[in-house]
């Protein structure tokens, strides 16, 4: 099996590999939904269909030594950065082959070998932590960058404003990426936020900011590259607003009935997979047939992953007590 590091490198430059990863994320999330319905996944889960271009576009620009802070809607980021479908699904199913050994669950993805710090279930929590990761890089004098990915709702929480301000005054090498998927939990962003363009909030921190079309991987890559280049050269932080859409509801229990009729369909016209397919076909990189093949191969791959995870062992009771403290004399 490929390691996360190898999988991460695969999507660095190859547009086909990037597309395949987007298909992987899409089908993975669809399978999670089905596994939930079948009772093989418990608790809650927050799916990211519609946001594949952002996840893969971002991951393709970063290095394994960069640090990424993401959220409970994190399966896509994790897969994009290289975590294997098995380690992500194993975790979601609470099995020992999961990236957290089965004790974290759907909201908590982590793999330090590709720079994915544990994703948080608390809105906004990763923003100051990303600033802190960038503080370490700045102090160490390397050119790594930190990235915080968070939703539109997080821009109303204190950690966002405090984190951006701190990053700005210290010129930290951090990129703040607001994934504006229109809804914070069940509330439309316009009902909770008095401005349309969330990236404008960086104005008050004298920080560069712009929006990108989050449904278009090329637009995401261009925007993130600009911000990452600036950060690596000591130019400080950037706030990027990626305009995306959450095709699923907020979580398992939310069918998204609050969305106006036709809105999902309107956004689906700009489905990031479709946008990428059209671009690749027009550049003669892929054909309709090769796309179908990619999709059916992926179905097969994921079915095998599901079988592996179903068969994987449950964690033992001893794992309850592991990894709480670093093993020292005092921790025993």
């Amino acid at each position: 099996m490929k390691t996360a590091k190898v999988r991460r490198l695969e999507i660095a430059t190859d547009p086909i590999a990037q597309y395949v990863r987007m298909v992987e994320i899409r089908q993975f999330e669809e399978q999670i939904n089905a596994l939930f319905a079948a009772g093989l996944v418990r608790g809650s889960t927050h799916l990211c269909q519609g946001q594949e271009a952002l996840d893969v576009g971002l991951a393709s620009v970063l290095r394994a030594t960069d640090a990424v802070l993401a959220t409970y809607r994190g399966h896509g980021v994790a897969l994009a950065l290289g975590l294997t479908p098995e380690s992500v699904l194993g975790e979601i199913m609470g099995k020992t082959n999961g990236c957290c050994g089965g004790v974290g669950g759907s909201m908590h993805m982590c793999d330090m070998s590709v720079g994915l710090l544990p994703t948080s279930a608390i809105v906004g929590a990763g923003i100051p932590i990303a600033a802190g990761a960038a503080l370490a890089f700045q102090t160490q004098g390397n050119d790594n960058v930190a990235v915080a990915v968070f939703g539109d709702g997080a821009t109303n929480i204190g950690a966002f404003h405090e984190g951006l301000n701190l990053a700005a005054i210290w010129k930290l090498p951090v990129i703040f990426i607001c994934d504006n998927n229109v809804y914070g939990e069940y509330s439309r962003i316009q009902t909770t936020t008095p401005i349309e363009d969330l990236h404008m909030r960086a104005e008050s921190y004298n920080m560069p900011h712009f929006s990108v079309d989050g449904m278009d991987i090329l637009a995401v890559q261009k925007g993130v590259t600009e911000a990452v280049d600036r950060a690596r050269k000591g130019g400080g932080p950037t706030l990027i607003e990626a305009k995306t859409y959450r095709f699923a509801g907020h979580s398992r229990s939310d069918p998204g009935l609050y969305r106006p009729e036709g809105e999902v369909e309107e956004w689906q016209k700009r489905d990031p997979l479709k946008v990428t397919e059209e671009a690749l076909i027009s550049r003669n990189i892929l054909t309709r047939e090769s796309i179908e093949k990619i999709k059916s191969d992926m179905q097969e791959t994921l079915q095998a992953v599901i079988a592996t995870c179903v068969a994987a062992p449950e964690p033992t009771l001893a794992s309850i007590f592991e990894n709480i403290w670093t093993p020292t004399k005092a921790a025993k």
């Binding site: 908590h108 709702g153 909770t192 009771l317 309850i320």
Partner: protein, 336 residues
């Protein structure tokens, strides 16, 4: 008497208080249009309108603080923290502001807010959405802390909390929202008063929240003649009821959904031991979760919470020997 789900009992209590007292208002994330992520504010927006029932941004610090200001100036806000962990970003407003302002005004103002939060494990939400965290708030003079255990206490204690002139934190076990129970809407309960769920003579069990049900079934299953007390209020806790019972039975176990270290039950055990030392037949002890984060895996999470079987084992041992039973993790050799 009506049969209601736990969540409906909460919504009914909120509605009844809003009808009775025009100062009562509620706000929080998705509590208005969506009627609450757990449907605990069903029908409120429709009946009371958008001035008194408001959705907020995801901004716990802002809306908890706003509740404090509104309360001082004549309103009675009830705010909802969707998951208890989200109180973390608003803790200052509750613990360091709301709970201190009466004291800091020489008694000239009061802060009648209710902060409701869903809490607890058992549903596979992972460790950042499954804690009870009573100990974040319990050592805060000026703040009262309630933990609900069934539809009746949800109704009656919610009303008492709203009527209270001081800040009250109400913990709602998330696993119970869908459970049905009888509710007598004319039954009043007082903050600070424990409920004797079952009288008995062999041992006093003090518990609260979702574990009251587990204690009940352990008693039924084992036939142990235990006296079961639902503490209901953690601050100020009902010393009189608990000590009276322990004096009668001579034995005490506190059963808590919280890590072994630093739980509210330590206070009960310490007090009973000091006050009733001479009349004890056995060592007072606690049954808790281990000192570990709540694990996600279903296999682990089920074992993590005190189970019916483990409670029966420990009760039986304590009654037979007078000694503190071992924890399951001691028996398994996993931890001292």
């Amino acid at each position: 008497m009506a049969i209601m789900r736990f969540r409906q009992a909460i919504a009914t209590a909120l509605a009844d208080e809003m009808r009775t007292d025009s100062r009562v208002m509620i706000f929080g994330e998705d509590v208005a249009v969506a009627e609450g992520p757990f449907k605990t504010s069903e029908g409120l927006l429709q009946e009371f309108g958008s001035l008194r029932v408001r959705d907020t941004p995801i901004s716990e610090m802002a809306f908890t603080g706003a509740a404090v200001g509104a309360a001082i100036m004549g309103m009675k806000p009830v705010v909802e923290i969707m998951f208890m962990e989200f109180l973390g970003v608003a803790l200052d407003q509750l613990v360091t502001e709301a709970a201190k302002l009466r004291y800091l005004s020489n008694g000239t103002l009061s802060v009648p807010i209710v902060v409701r939060a869903s809490c607890g494990s058992g549903l596979g939400f992972g460790n950042q959405h499954s804690q009870t965290l009573e100990n974040w708030v319990a050592a805060t003079p000026g703040l009262k802390v309630i933990h609900l255990s069934d539809a009746q206490s949800a109704y009656s204690l919610m009303r008492a909390a709203i009527q209270d002139p001081d800040p009250v934190m109400v913990l709602e076990p998330r696993a119970l929202y869908g459970e049905r129970g009888e509710v007598d809407t004319s039954l009043e309960m007082q903050i600070g008063q424990a409920r004797v769920i079952r009288a008995g003579s062999a041992i006093t069990i003090v518990s609260l929240g979702q574990l009251v049900n587990v204690c009940k079934s352990a008693i039924e299953e084992s036939g142990i003649d235990a006296e079961l007390i639902d503490l209901a209020t953690i601050v100020p806790w009902d010393r009189e009821t608990v000590l009276k019972s322990v004096k009668k039975t001579g034995r005490l176990v506190v059963i808590e959904e919280a890590p072994e270290s630093g739980g509210w039950g330590s206070e009960i055990v310490a007090t009973a031991t000091a006050e009733l030392f001479a009349s004890l037949k056995g060592a007072p002890f606690r049954i808790t979760t281990p000192d570990a984060p709540v694990p996600y895996s279903g296999v682990l999470e089920t074992r993590f919470l005190p189970t019916q079987d483990d409670i029966i084992r420990q009760l039986t041992h304590a009654i037979a020997t007078g000694e503190k039973p071992k924890t399951w993790w001691q028996i398994e050799g996993l931890k001292k």
